[in-house]
Amino acid sequence: MKPAPRAAALRAIAELASDPLPILWPLETAIATNPLWDMRSRGFAGAVSTAEHLLGATGYPSDDTFRCAYRDGRITHADLVCALQESQSTAGGGTEGGITTRAARSHFDASLSGGRHLAGQVDAEVAKWCAAFLGGKLPLSSEGFYKAWLRSVSTTRWARRPRIKRLLCGLPPTAAEAAVSCLALLGIDEDQWRAELTAHLARMPGWAAHAKWRSRWAAPNAAGPALELVDYLAVRLVYEASIATEASIATGESGGSEGSVSLEGSGGSKASSGTPTGLTAKTRPQQQKATASLDLIPSLVDMDGSDGREVWLRAYEIHYRHELLRNLTRQAVRPSSLAPTAQFVFCIDVRSEGLRRHIEASGEYETFGFAGFFGFPVRVHPWDGGSVVDLCPVLLRPTLEVDEIPADVQPSPVSDLLADHAGFAGVGPAVEEARQGEVSPYVLAEASGFVLGPLAALRTLTPTVFAALRSWVSAKLAPQPLTGFDLQGPSSPSDDSQALYAETALKTMGLTSGFAPVVVICGHAATTENNPFASALDCGACGAVGGARSARMAADVLNRPRVRELLAERHIDIPKETLFVAAEHDTTTDRVRVLDPSSVPSSHTRLVEALQEMMSRAGQSLAVERSRDLPAADHSRASAHVSCRSVDWAQLQPEWGLARNASLIIAPRALSAGVDLQRRAFLHSYDPDSDESGSLLETILTGPMVVAHWINAAYYFSAVSPDVYGAGDKAAHNVVAGAGVWQGAGGDLRLGLPRQAVFDGERLYHEPMRLLTIIEAPPTRIDSVIDRNAVVKQLVGGAWVHLVCRHEGAWLRKADDGSWRELADGGPSPYPDFGGPVDATLEGLQTSQIGGSQP
């Protein structure tokens, strides 16, 4: 059979048309990403400019943020002078690379020229059908959104209108063909397809972002209804075509029925009324050129909007960089030359930094940082038959597949455990299903209200007691067995494969000799209640799930004698007396626990017990430190407070997550040991002396740095543009079929992080800055890695990430022109540091001086 003309081209154009849109992972694995990721080749300034025109998104911190920072000394005069020196204007328009934002609004605006409400009705209809589809409420859902929608919408009153009926009956069977037909019906030439499709996607970036995830990032056979990009576009185009169809006959005809799109007030014409209804309706007013005087910094005055903001942002970033580099230079302490009592490997997550600092202060302990999947990209088949879990960053597809097995089944046999778990696990979904029905909620209330009501009261009044009670019941009814992995079975990864991954992990983190008697591999997870964004607090390097399984996997592999034999052949000699122990850091409670203490051999029991005690004390110290920043926290009893906070189902801010993240340090710990990095730095261990070829650095810059940049950018844009790239107030969230949240009762899915993740009340808690990556390595090696990896080149060259290199005692900054420039003591010298609060003459700093006008 010959394929339909242009359908394949339509698919390709739809792919390109979605570039300006973010990607939205489902809530179960809420990965933090750069919402402008697919525009990264435009550079930071160009991408935010396009996003501003297309979505109305702000790309820089607000003028108020800069003004307050200047007033408070967070940005100094010296920082601004330095920023001017370092800046090269990279602001871009919204037209390069084929995204002609002006053209993008043209047809959709014109065809819906009746006003915003008409486009809004299309959005509302599409959102309604998307939610129903993802909720499994449409027949034919396995055949894709377009077919399922077509089947269901055909039964509505709207579809019985003669022209609509003819339109629907004449639609081709596949989404791409239907989209081509509708574009033809609308009279849109192929060279305008992309603009038209971008316009449609930009109307509801949340749904578009979900469809983009499904089409580009989801596993090919991912479970659940597949809302694909082309299906989504096809449905939208049919609605647009229906408007055009009816417009030709019914000026002023009113609709408003079920499944309908009304033309009321539209005038029934494609002629533009001049009222923007499409994607660029949100465009900010034209920015004014700064004209007011600012004597100290004349160059700023000549810059208009984005250029001025770029300088202020750089000044904001330079101030942080200066302080950080100065602290690293002056405060870092040389690690002890004594053999460590134990070594610890933590995730690079910024929340690990505090714990590492407290552990190192407790004795002769050496710590390392590595991506929290610990180098084993594993697909796990859970012991209880649950859904498979992929334990790796989403940049990777799991290449190892293992079965999780109960390691200790006494006293209950496995079959009993499985039955208990199946029964207990079914309670929650059964209650939830009953709540969603039409009649069953009443039955549920009658049947179980006498139990659930008092439990809800208990949960509200004494969250800690309720959590303890629930844990006790859970342990009694469905005890959790000690689990391990089948690493030697017929379907297990080969010994060679296990050794290869172990070798890569150890070499990349720089732990290839000098092994301590115990090496603790510590993953992390977060305990929270009633939190749709719970996975955003878990381990991003593990695919937004808890890190316990990854830690167990690494420890189990590294404890295998056969793997150690193979590692010895590769010149990594792990002593027989070295034991790898899995542990987990709960970042919400700061409890750190050895995961399987009963499996520790007697030879190491006392040491592991001592380590457990030490880690608990370190966690308590961290809780005290962390509680100083938590809103409404009781500092006097920090540990109890954070524990209660974690199980309180009314708590909107269980922890700050990765807020205020700002830097990534790729270096031996000696560069930063002893410095309080304030839980703002991702720490990746790296030994430059054992990486002549740069291959290990390449691994870090193409993997962990990209993930750190994503997290950094997600927080950045959720902070600077919360209305577009933020998920809004948690208190008003409604979960939509696990795909995302609505703010209220319908409409578009919200993107990014909730407001409570970056704001403390009305005040911005997160400091929006681009990631500062510090690398200890020769600059030529770094350049070599950049040159041969497009993604690193785009991030560094496009000013998404700032690079600083530590080499032979000097700090070198990667300038915009690609050269390395030395920084004296990390500071902005030789410029004078005016420092401190600004004087009265600058208090009146005007908006226009900062570089733009308020709408």
């Binding site: 792919e15 089409s215 990896n789």
Partner: protein, 109 residues
């Protein structure tokens, strides 16, 4: 000639090298053009306009290059190329088209 000599059926083979992250876009075009199967070879390396391209990146499948191969009847090639040409207006990569022969044509229709 070859087909007649060995009883093979002529087909067209299209090979594409793109970044891993563009694989879904390419495979969607394959499917829309009517291809019933394709082959992917991940982590390929080579040298081109943008210099040397690494093969395996240990922690990033999306940025390393992928070779995709598809074989299909001639009447479907035009549609396929329309789609691939669109992708290459903005994405890096290369495209090779060549004659090939298969022994079981029903596998490719």
């Amino acid at each position: 000639m070859i087909g007649e000599r060995w009883g093979l059926t002529p087909m067209v083979k299209v090979e594409v090298v793109v970044a891993g992250e563009d694989t879904p876009a390419v495979t969607e075009v394959f499917k829309e053009a009517g291809a019933v199967g394709f082959t992917t070879v991940p982590n390929v390396s080579g040298f081109g306009h943008h210099g040397y391209h690494q093969g395996l990146l240990a922690f990033n499948d999306r940025s390393s290059l992928v070779l995709l191969m598809v074989v299909l009847p001639e009447e479907r090639v035009e549609s396929l190329l329309e789609g691939l040409r669109q992708i290459f207006t903005e994405r890096r990569g290369v495209l090779f088209v060549s004659d090939t022969f298969v022994s079981r044509p029903e596998y490719f229709r």
